[in-house]
């Protein structure tokens, strides 16, 4: 029993990159029972998509 406990997986995930992809991965995992470290190299998350104006084809604001 104790041996099994030692081998147990860690319920946390590191996501590297805080763009739209990293954010989606982080939310899916955090919403389904995992602790997430979201590591971003710049001072805030958002990535390339936050720089776009409207997005095709819905013309929604990228924000």
């Amino acid at each position: 029993m104790s041996r099994k406990k030692e081998q147990k997986n860690i319920g946390a995930v590191m996501v590297a990159g805080g763009g739209i992809v990293g954010m989606q991965s982080a939310l899916d995992l955090a919403d389904s029972g995992f602790y997430v470290y979201l590591v971003e190299k710049s001072s805030s998350i958002g990535g390339a998509m936050a720089r776009l104006d409207k997005t095709f084809p819905t013309n929604d604001c990228a924000m």
């Binding site: 860690i10 739209i20 029972g33 409207k54």
Partner: protein, 941 residues
């Protein structure tokens, strides 16, 4: 973004760089270098006082360097975390020990020049890499003249020019001393993509055709009907869902598409007009003048990708993207480390998001036994009941530094607020959102027994959740809160009319207080969740989704219409990277048949369904018998297949085949002279105005197989645009090198096939030679359109929508590519849109990931801001049921009364359509009741 920032189980590590990951899958230790921000995140309240005093200007990377920002900055107004940072390379204090203005200006003492780099170690079970891409930099390639001429800009720069938050507030202006609105803009495609001569990037970047079309259409919206956008291209790759329709729309709205090769760009030194010299399809030399040129730059691997790969020991592919296999689309070469998005290869946003969820699914499968071990939940004190209490309103007026206080007279607003009905307590704060004010506020609420709170400050969009949390900390229900937006909607817009701004702020506070008096406590709603799943369709997508769920402990039933699992993949030999599909398929079928958590029902079909997220009941017919399945979520994976056609003698002459029937015909052929492939048979026309996405790659692969076996056979591919997107472009290049002949045809001038005794005769117009060709073909293979299964019945059962082409419609084309508007139902595979096997696998895993969010809980909490029906007033007309897009309201038989509307809280999104359409006014929206809204309107009147 805000959701990520506020999530109790997501810890943001900004300014972080991953140095190494040690250990084994399931138990890694990551070492991270965290660079100093020089601003204490816990103290910074993002008031912006520091920026006003900072003397150092630096080019703003967020705005593609088009304008400057200060050395202390936030990347953009909506940044998460909304905390300033100092750029250590440019800050005068940090570089030369001069200045220090920001420290003086900061009202909360958040500036800390002494912050040092930290090394963090974190313990994790899995890693997901999603570091994105770098846009191609055209400055080294003088043929585009990007460095020489100001009005040659990249598409990223043009995005900022279009943006209302950009350097020109969305006004499109040429870049010169006296800027003017451009009359003509040219977009040049494939800059840094499909180019081995100059850029050394042989792949297609997949997204530039569509973003160029988007930019041209938005520019046209901004600049009006006289504006002339032109797109210079090789092939228009509109290979995604509804892309082709967008392309057709652009043509109708006056975007010119010029199939050409651009050779030179020059500038008239006097007028600064740009001249493009180009070769047309038929080889004619042309030139044309433009005011501005946008380079549709491609995507390249991040320079840091190689570093990360080295640090983590993962393999990259030949283009420096992270290497994955088609049949394991988000797994890297190191177990327990996954990747998603453009870091793995060029793709658009929806496909990136699909992969993001797929990677989350892989991580979840790996760590299924540790689910829930480390999550934290915020604890709040027990809520005090306010039943039978009369309203006691507390009003907090914020100065927001000088943002409000510098314009409106906050003191007089406070005095005014004290005179309003039911108001017990009023105060002003320099910054209401700062941490110490929040703690104080909680105490004030308790001391004064306040039971309604109004904050007059910035905007609820960013700050409402924060204040609601403060209410909960003080034992109040979070819906007893109202905000008056006296900054964004008042002092910011009336900064030059101080008195009027003060008067307006008072009115806004009066409105908020009137509404606050009538606010009610709304309890949380939670619904229990059944943890079984149903997958409709037993192809690669359905099986993959089922196995992903089953391996995490969720029992899944696969309902397959035919008598065999496998779907469309049964006919596919290999993926575009030559991976063996049949071995893979046999393997997953065996797993599905033997997994204790998977039940396979063949010859089974869904007849109807009822229920809502967590609680569905689906009726099926299985081998002629009726059955009911109870399940918490549903996955729609009904697939699709190649259509038949009556064109080109198909079905009349055995030498004309479609898709993979070609292989059989070809096996029998002995050294054939000429083989012809015809593309877009039944796709991209009036009946099916969409591109079937997979056909170009498939035909190019078949052509290569022919050339391999019989190098002397002439192979012709008759096409409209070659859409070997992404890294599939390599196959197209190989085919050209192997001597496959590509001939472009138009919809107006299709090839003509007639049956001769010895040969099939194919007549086609060659636009390069400008003449008709006659090919005597031994075999012809048709790439007929891929169409979805008949989805109408299933769509009706779960209240799902299908588009005009009968593909299922996802909740949001960009951001929610596997969800439906109906909660708890997900889509994947060809049922969503034609796609190659690797994309189906990723989407199936994404669907499983989204489903896991629901299945992993015994109950889910949902927003309680839903509709509520007064059964006494309701007459059962059913209008509300008709208008609801979410299947959230039904008619039920109430004994003695007849039919009455009943809302399903779990499905309700609180949009208010039902309330607005009810002729009896029997429906009210909680928190937005008519009397509450009218109270604030009347207060303003």
């Amino acid at each position: 973004m805000v959701e990520v920032g506020r999530h109790p189980n997501i810890e943001l590590i900004t300014l972080g760089e991953i140095l190494k990951v040690d250990g084994e899958p399931g138990n890694f230790t990551a070492t991270i270098k965290k660079k100093p921000r020089y601003v204490d995140e816990t103290k910074c309240i993002a008031c912006g006082e520091c920026v006003k005093k900072c003397p150092k200007k630096v080019p703003d990377p967020y705005n593609a360097g088009l304008i400057k920002r200060k050395a202390i900055y936030v990347q953009y107004e909506q940044a998460v975390p909304l905390k300033y940072a100092i750029d250590p390379e440019h800050c005068l204090k940090l570089t030369k020990d001069k200045c220090g203005n920001c420290e003086e200006a900061c009202p909360t003492g958040a500036i800390d020049y002494g912050q040092k780099e930290e090394i963090l170690e974190i313990n994790i079970g899995a890693v997901i890499l999603s570091s994105g891409f770098t846009p191609f930099n055209p400055s080294e390639y003088d043929n585009y003249q990007y460095s020489s001429f100001k009005n040659v800009v990249t598409a990223m720069e043009f995005e900022r020019i279009l943006s209302a938050a950009g350097p020109t507030q969305g006004e499109i202006l040429t870049i010169e001393k006296e800027p003017k609105h451009p009359k003509k803009i040219a977009w040049l495609q494939c800059v840094g993509s499909r180019d081995i001569n100059r850029a050394k990037n042989e792949y297609c970047s997949s997204v530039c055709c569509m973003y160029a079309i988007k930019e041209s259409l938005i520019a046209k919206e901004h600049l009006g009907k006289d504006f002339e956008p032109s797109i210079f291209f090789m092939d228009i790759r509109a290979h995604g869902k509804d892309f082709e329709k967008y392309y057709e729309r652009a043509k109708k709205e006056g975007v010119r598409f010029i199939r050409s090769r651009v050779h030179t760009i020059s500038e008239d030194p006097k007028t600064e007009t740009l001249r493009i010299g180009y070769l047309t399809e038929s080889g004619k030399v042309e030139k044309e003048d433009f005011d501005m040129i946008v380079l549709s730059v491609g995507m390249t691997a991040n320079a840091s990708a190689r570093q990360v790969a080295d640090n983590l020991g993962i393999k990259l592919n030949r283009y420096n993207f992270v290497k994955t296999d088609d049949l394991m689309p988000v797994s890297t070469s190191r177990d327990g480390i996954y990747t998603a998005g453009v870091m793995q290869g060029c793709k658009d946003i929806p496909q990136s998001i699909v992969e993001a969820s797929a990677a989350a699914c892989y991580a979840g499968m790996k760590l299924a036994d540790a689910r829930g071990d480390l999550v934290k939940e915020k604890k709040f004190p027990v809520e005090n009941s306010i039943k039978d209490q009369s309203p006691r309103i507390g009003i907090f007026v914020c100065n927001c530094g000088a943002n409000i206080g510098g314009i409106a007279d906050v003191k007089s607003i406070v005095e005014y607020a004290k005179t309003l009905p039911n108001v017990e307590y009023v105060t002003e704060n320099l910054f209401t959102c700062s941490q110490d004010t929040q703690t104080n506020m909680s105490e004030i609420i308790k001391e004064n027994k306040l039971n309604r709170i109004v904050v007059a400050a910035c905007t609820p969009r960013t700050h409402e959740p924060l204040f609601q949390e403060t209410l909960r900390n003080a034992g109040l229900n979070p819906y007893l809160f109202e905000m008056a937006n006296i900054r964004n909607q008042c002092t910011w817009v009336h900064s030059k009319e101080k008195e009027k701004a003060t008067a307006k702020a008072k009115e806004l506070v009066k409105m908020a207080a009137a509404r606050a008096s009538l606010l009610e406590a709304i309890p949380d709603i939670s619904v229990n969740v059944g943890n079984k799943a149903l997958a409709v369709g037993g192809g690669v997508s359905g099986i993959t989704a089922a196995l992903s769920l089953a391996s995490q402990g969720f029992f899944t039933t696969i309902v397959e219409k035919s008598d065999k699992l496998g779907g469309a993949a049964k006919h596919i030999a290999k993926t575009s990277n030559q991976e063996d599909v049949q071995t893979f398929l046999a393997d997953i079928i065996e797993k599905a048949n033997n997994h204790p958590n998977v039940e396979v029902l063949l010859n089974a079909e869904v007849t109807d369904a009822s229920g809502f997220v967590g609680n569905f009941e689906t009726n099926i017919i299985h081998n002629g018998e009726e059955k009911t399945l109870s399940h918490g979520i549903g996955i729609i994976a009904t697939g699709g297949d190649a259509t038949d056609t009556e064109e080109y003698l198909y079905g009349k002459d055995a030498r004309v085949t479609k898709w993979n029937d070609f292989e059989k015909a070809f096996d029998k052929a002995d050294n054939p002279q000429n083989i012809v492939f015809i593309q877009c048979v039944g796709s991209r026309d009036e009946n099916r105005p969409y591109c079937s996405r997979v056909c170009c790659t498939s035909s190019v692969m078949k052509a290569l197989d022919v050339k391999k076996k019989f190098p002397n056979t002439n192979v012709f591919i008759l096409y409209r645009d070659i859409r070997t997107y992404g890294e599939k472009e390599r196959l197209y290049k190989e085919a050209r090198e192997a001597g496959v002949i590509f001939i472009k045809y138009d919809l107006e001038n299709k090839p003509i096939v007639t049956s001769g005794k010895k040969y099939l005769e194919v007549k086609v117009f060659d636009p390069i030679l400008q003449t008709n060709l006659l090919i005597e073909a031994d075999l012809i293979n048709l790439a007929t359109a891929i169409a979805p299964s008949d989805n109408k019945k299933l769509a009706a059962a779960y209240k799902l929508s299908v588009n005009e082409d009968n593909f299922f419609m996802e909740a949001h084309a960009k951001l929610r590519p596997v969800d439906f508007t109906t909660d708890g139902v997900f889509v994947c595979g060809i049922a969503h849109y034609p796609k190659p096997i690797e994309e189906s696998i990723a989407q199936a895993m994404a669907a499983a990931s989204r489903a896991t969010i629901i299945l992993s809980k015994s109950s889910i909490r949902i927003s309680p801001l839903v509709s509520s029906v007064d059964k006494e007033k309701c007459i059962g007309c059913g209008l509300c049921v008709e208008v609801c897009s979410f299947a959230a309201i039904i008619l039920e038989d109430v004994e003695g009364k007849g039919l009455r509307a009943k809302n399903i809280e779990a499905s309700c999104k609180g949009c208010g359509l039902c309330a607005a359409s009810c002729p009896q006014k029997a429906i009210d929206m909680l928190h937005f009741k008519e009397k509450q809204i009218f109270a604030s309107i009347q207060a303003a009147a």
